[in-house]
Amino acid sequence: MKAKTTLGGAMLMLASLAATAAQPADFLARFEREARQADGAFAASPARGEAWFQARHGREWSCSTCHTPDPAGRGKHAVTGKPIEPMAPVANPERLTSDRSVDKWFRRNCRDVVGRECTPAEKADVIAYLMRVGS
């Protein structure tokens, strides 16, 4: 009985893990949905995302400063030199799978690169670009 309860509990945990583990497409959908609240016709564009990723936005760094111009390659922190694992899901399956991580890094890195938080449209474009890399 006890074993059954434990097994049941474990299965429930697995099921809830599977339910909460996000995929890159989930983030794309989420930010597109958010962007459409401001612009009903919005559709994410990998090309726009690529341009955004590679360009500077009035400050010292671009996304590519640390992540390098190739999101499938390993990056390097501009100040500390610490290696940064690839951003493109094709090269690093851990990317774009955690709400907490996606929200944290967009918030912080956009403030560093753009001087403000990114809009949902900007995030959707960048994610569309990262998902296109290597495919």
């Binding site: 500390t80 610490k82 944290k104 912080r108 403030r111 560093d112």
Partner: protein, 184 residues
């Protein structure tokens, strides 16, 4: 440079007294290089939150006062936004509080130092000539910055700074240091 400081200390009884007091206070808590057994356990949360951009620095290298100042200023953390959500912030603060060094790491102006590399302990342990270091070692491309512990401390990612794990990169530089050492 070093000799001058010592002479000044000898001439100035107040400074000498302060120096002696600092030694006496600092010695028991000092993270000496032979002191590998006393290091704090690396917490996964600390490594995840603070070790993403730089090595998860050993918490004993700054005082609680210094760490609190660092944690309070994460939104402007040495030129980058390193802010954390409330829960992560509390976890990191608790960890640093529990394992902070016991001796003061206040600067000369009485304010807590924010950089480990600014502490007297760090500067003494990493002065030119020590462990094959040269004045320009930290600026070399292979090292980049004195905050890049792992460039020389091969176990830094795991929180290990044992003497036997130190490898200053670029054999050419090491050879130079050896040669200089012989001439002195």
């Amino acid at each position: 440079m070093q000799a001058k400081t010592t002479r000044d200390s000898r001439r100035n009884p107040v400074r000498l007294a302060l120096f002696a007091a600092a030694l006496a206070l600092g010695a028991p808590a000092m993270a000496d290089d032979d002191d590998d057994n006393r290091r704090a356990p690396m917490s996964p949360a600390y490594v995840e939150e603070c070790g993403a951009c730089h090595v998860a620095f050993p918490p004993e290298l700054l005082s609680r006062r210094s760490w609190n100042a660092v944690v309070d200023g994460l939104a402007e953390h040495f030129g980058t936004d390193a802010s954390l959500d409330a829960q992560a912030l509390a976890t990191v603060r608790d960890y640093l509080d529990a394992y902070a060094g016991r001796r003061s790491t206040d600067g000369a102006n009485g304010k807590p130092l924010l950089r480990i590399t600014d502490t007297r302990w760090f500067q003494r342990e990493h002065r030119a000539g020590e462990h094959g270091l040269r004045a320009d070692t930290f600026k070399r491309a292979e090292v980049g910055s004195a905050a890049n512990c792992g460039a020389c401390h091969r176990g830094a990612a795991d929180g290990s700074y044992a003497e036997r794990e130190i490898r200053v990169p670029a054999p050419g530089v090491r050879a130079n240091i050896t040669a200089q050492g012989r001439t002195q």
